[in-house]
């Protein structure tokens, strides 16, 4: 299932997040990279260097947009001006799909700039799915929603996180950006088996997979994106691709960012698992 309606029927391979410390290397060395993921909000200004760099990147590479501020789980109306800016960027990048998070983060027009966890209720799923549909209809591009890492659970929740994710994506008829690192982080913070999560999502809706590193503290794990991917997360990745097949995969590294080669090398480790899964399938 490399290509599906939720990733615009593409087969994008292994990419990395486009980050400022790597601009010079990428533009001067032009390394071979399957694709870059950009954080949409970093390119939604009206001009200046960010857009100039983006245009140079677009001349050489495929780019997919990933957002952090649509807040599908917020209860207020979608902000039309914000959507217009995203759409303007969609036209520029020609992203075959775009993603944002299954979370909330704004209330009464005030923004927390955080990915806050949702209460897993049927009512919340309904409202969230409606907002995803509205956004997709306006943006005219497939949308994938990403599971977030979380540090709190609510008394009012009526189902598990993956059941909630399924409820939302079925209602919205949208894709999933499956973040296996987030699943691992949340599984440790909330004491569930991460394999239950990976096995519980509809494989045919997975448009993209995220991998990343995190930081372990005495009482919880924080999703810091500042380390290599740990083995248990690679195992979840392997299980995910066993179910989904070769799927666009992206390594996120956002803090204490090492050299481009180190980040790209870490991402390319995904190939080992893809080969292993594919050869097992061939033998079978």
């Amino acid at each position: 299932m490399p290509a599906n309606p939720f990733n615009g029927f593409t087969d994008y391979g292994i990419g990395i997040g486009l980050r400022v410390p790597h601009y010079e290397h990428i533009l001067s060395q032009k390394p071979t990279v399957d694709w870059f993921e950009i954080i949409s909000e970093n390119f939604m200004g009206d001009g200046g260097r960010p857009l100039k760099v983006l245009d140079q990147i677009l001349e050489q590479y495929r780019v997919v947009q990933h957002g952090v501020s649509m807040y599908f789980g917020s209860s207020e109306k979608l902000n039309r001006d914000h959507l217009k800016k995203i759409k303007r960027l969609v036209k520029r990048t020609k992203t075959p799909w775009l993603s944002d998070h299954l979370c909330w983060g704004s209330v009464d027009g005030r923004y927390t700039h955080d990915l806050l966890p949702m209460p897993y209720t049927f009512a919340a799923a309904k409202v969230t799915a409606q907002r995803i549909r509205e956004a997709r209809d306006f943006l005219e591009v497939p949308i994938g929603v990403e599971n977030v890492s979380s540090y709190a659970e609510f008394h009012v929740s009526e189902m598990t996180e993956w059941e909630f994710l399924n409820e939302v994506v079925e209602r919205a008829d949208c894709g999933i950006l499956l973040d296996v690192n987030n699943i691992y982080v949340s599984s440790k913070n909330h004491n569930f088996n991460p394999l239950d999560y990976v096995n519980g999502v509809p494989a045919d809706r997975v448009a993209q997979i995220h991998i990343a590193g995190h930081s372990k503290f005495q009482k919880y794990i924080l999703d810091t994106h500042d380390h290599p991917v740990i083995d248990p997360v690679w195992k979840l990745y392997e299980r995910a691709i066993q179910r989904t097949g070769r799927t666009a995969t992206l390594l996120e590294w956002d803090d204490r960012i090492p050299s481009f080669d180190e980040v790209h090398g870490e991402a390319l480790k995904a190939n080992q698992f893809l080969k292993r899964v594919e050869s097992a399938k061939t033998k079978a």
Partner: protein
């Protein structure tokens, strides 16, 4: 939950123990958040409360390094918390976090006393820097755009990335040095921060007090601070406010301008046009 997340932290950057109505915050947290075998409801909520403040403080501190350097770390951090509590972000982007800072500092000079004027200068300049970074650059005006338009009635539009400032202190060189010596501004991401990136700032002294005029603009993707003569500032400000060329030039009467007025103003316009500052005609 939003109210708890955005509520200012208590001393030592921990969540406040008492809720707004005097009840224990622990009780509020327990009412909607489940505890687990390692963390109480309060502790789980506190992760988000701390994260919110760490993120917006880091961003604000990066954007206002100059202001921080003249106020000192402690005073600046108190000001930041007060401003961010009073004016939480109302934009999808953290880029706009400081959009109401000048208004706040004007209304509440106690946070910057006795350096209020200097603080206002820095706040204005640092906001202009943000505007210059990614505001639009429209196609520059061409000579043919002026064909058939009566010269006196022309209303020239200035680039959206250009800000004109009147300052009471000479702060441009200071800020240029400061920005050169520090890292890049934080970008948006979906990663959590382990701790706040607290860097000690060296207190700045001895900035020259002298009224001056500055244009903050972008040229070939670099941000520049250009000192202006009073006459240049008056003329550009009038045009930015929508005055016709005739009325804008009339504002120069009575000002001390060296050399032949026509020739001098001609040179100014040639220079501004070369920088691409004119981007069309107001209808």
């Amino acid at each position: 939950m939003a109210r708890a997340v955005m509520r200012p932290l208590g001393r030592g950057d921990v969540m406040q123990r008492k809720w707004i109505d005097g009840r224990p915050t622990k009780q509020i947290a327990e009412s909607f958040i489940k505890p687990n075998d390692r963390l109480t409801s309060f502790e789980r909520l506190e992760i988000y409360n701390r994260q919110y403040w760490f993120r917006i403080r880091d961003c604000f501190y990066e954007d206002y390094r100059g202001l921080r350097a003249i106020l000192g770390d402690q005073k600046f951090e108190r000001l930041a918390d007060e401003y961010l509590s009073k004016y939480p972000s109302r934009s999808y982007t953290l880029r706009n976090l400081g959009s109401r800072l000048v208004k706040f500092l004007q209304a509440e000079p106690r946070w910057t006393k006795p350096k209020t004027k200097l603080a206002l200068d820095l706040a204005r300049l640092e906001w202009a820097h943000i505007e210059a970074f990614d505001n639009a650059a429209k196609p520059a005006l061409k000579l043919e755009d002026l064909a058939g338009v009566e010269a006196a009635k022309i209303r020239l539009k200035l680039q959206p990335h250009l800000t004109l400032l009147t300052l009471e202190n000479v702060v441009d060189d200071f800020l240029i040095t400061l920005k050169k010596n520090s890292g890049l501004r934080s970008e948006a991401s979906n990663a959590m921060e382990q701790t706040q990136r607290r860097k000690k700032t060296k207190l700045a002294h001895g900035l020259k007090r002298q009224k001056n005029f500055l244009a903050v603009h972008r040229y070939e993707d670099g941000i520049y601070y250009k000192q202006l003569e009073r006459g240049q500032f008056v003329l550009l400000s009038a045009m930015q406010s929508g005055a016709t060329l005739e009325k804008a030039v009339a504002k120069l009467v009575g000002l001390k301008i060296s050399g032949d007025l026509g020739a001098t103003v001609g040179k100014w316009f040639a220079n501004w046009a070369a920088l691409g500052w004119f981007c069309g005609l107001e209808k």
